[in-house]
């Protein structure tokens, strides 16, 4: 019997136990089928209100959360920063308190500052789900990546997973590292030294600056996008130079395992970190990741919606 879920919020994977991660993955498997039905709706969250509070642009994650909530019959309100009172000088906490006063059940939040959802979880009562906070974590992306890997490889323990690209600015990398290492995978991170956070090996990962080392022997390669919007200054000579050294192309793939999985959290910069022939090639599970994202988010909404009080 699985452990009981007791968390009102999903803020990161760092604080989750192995059993909690496994429980989300198992629940995800049950939810996946709903999106394949002719009538893609179950009444589970009927009467519950979900606020999507996005302070950064997002298509995939916002749409995915919105569909997940709608397929479970929740009511949804979208708040975008450009049209919210935050532009009039209201603080984040005040905005959240006002939303809380309107009796909503869950707030799904994306923010450019690391820890913003944690701050809200401490100050308001609705469930808070982190949809990406700065360069800290993006827990549902980490979970959907792990779920996709597990669907193909049947296990996580002992797999060699390489995460390649802009590690320093990537919340996806951090959530993947926490989740994968807890489940027993061997994680390697690879990228230019300027995009490698100091002391990253303390998270239990291997570091390499040579993409060949990251490709060889890997069961899974997760390519990350270069986050130009988060880089204050130029951290590598040119896009072309980056692409030559760290972009995944057919030539570099020659040393890869025959059954390697190629993943990418999107949005893809075609021709920069990955060539179209690889992104659309036979090893690629990039669109499966998107499909699984909805199931993962449904599972998370279901689990947190059952917890009435925030335990300490």
């Amino acid at each position: 019997m699985a452990v009981l879920w007791k968390r009102k919020d999903l803020l990161d994977l760092e604080s989750l136990s192995t059993q909690e991660i496994e429980m989300i993955l198992e629940t995800t498997g049950s939810f996946k089928e709903i999106s394949q039905r002719p009538i893609k709706k179950v009444p589970t969250l009927r009467g519950q209100t979900v606020v999507l509070f996005f302070f950064e642009p997002s298509t995939r994650t916002r749409t995915s959360f919105e569909l997940a909530a709608k397929r479970m019959s929740a009511d949804i309100v979208n708040i975008q920063t450009s049209s919210s009172s935050l532009t009039k000088g209201e603080t984040l906490k005040d905005t959240a308190r006002n939303i809380e006063a309107m009796k909503v059940n869950m707030i799904i939040m994306r923010h450019s500052s690391s820890g913003a959802p944690h701050l809200l979880a401490r100050s308001v009562s609705p469930s808070i789900i982190n949809a990406g906070d700065g360069s800290h974590e993006h827990p549902t992306q980490g979970l959907l990546d792990i779920f996709t890997i597990k669907e193909h490889k049947k296990k996580i323990e002992g797999l060699n997973v390489s995460i390649i690209g802009d590690i320093a600015h990537s919340r996806v990398a951090r959530s993947n590292i926490w989740g994968l290492t807890k489940l027993g995978a061997n994680v390697t991170v690879c990228g230019p030294a300027t995009l490698m956070p100091p002391e990253i090996e303390k998270l239990g990962v291997k570091v390499t600056y040579d993409i060949k080392e990251a490709i060889e022997g890997a069961d899974v390669i997760n390519m990350l996008r270069i986050q130009l919007e988060r880089q204050g200054q130029s951290l590598f000579p040119s896009i072309r130079d980056y692409s030559m050294s760290f972009g995944l192309d057919a030539d570099k793939m020659k040393i890869a395992k025959k059954d390697v999985l190629i993943m990418h959290p999107g949005p893809i910069n075609r021709g920069v970190e990955i060539t179209p022939e690889i992104a659309d090639g036979p090893y690629s599970v990039i669109l499966e990741q998107v499909t699984n994202g909805i199931a993962v988010r449904m599972a998370v909404l279901y689990l947190v919606s059952g917890v009435k009080e925030r335990g300490e």
């Binding site: 009981l4 879920w5 498997g29 049950s30 709903i34 002719p38 179950v42 009444p43 279901y302």
Partner: protein
Amino acid sequence: MKLREKAKVLDADQIEKAIVRIAHEVLENNRDVDKIAIVGIRTRGAILALRLAKKMEAIAKKDIPFGVLDITLYRDDLTTVAEQPVVHKTEIDFDIHDKIIVLVDDVLYTGRTIRCALDALIDFGRPRSIQLAVLVDRGHRELPIRADYAGKNIPTSQKETVQVKVAESDGADEVVIAEREE
């Protein structure tokens, strides 16, 4: 909560005979065998449903579509239970449109599980009809629902519980009535 076993109401042989009888009754009531499909409610209803489907296939000498329904997401008490129940997979990989669905569960009690199952089924399409088969009908309905096929009617008090055990998950086939110990 400790339970004390009071009486064994069905043994393995009687369960087997009940399923065979229901198989014949379903086929007798529905001449259009090609339209029949069996759907079991997790967990024990699904196990019994698979047995029923096998028996019917043997009698009618035809393949009968079989599916499994998990009703957790349709429960009407999700806002009142302390913790979210574990959700399992629903596996209905045939088109239920225009099918005669025989819904199978182990025990019919308040009728609430069946209400959930009806809602869940109808989300898959529009069957021609839905019929209900249960191994045990123990009474105490809270909704206007009845069984079309019942293995055995067992009058019970609400203090008692009816436990259907099946070899696949409990080691042996039997139905017992148990009572909460004070």
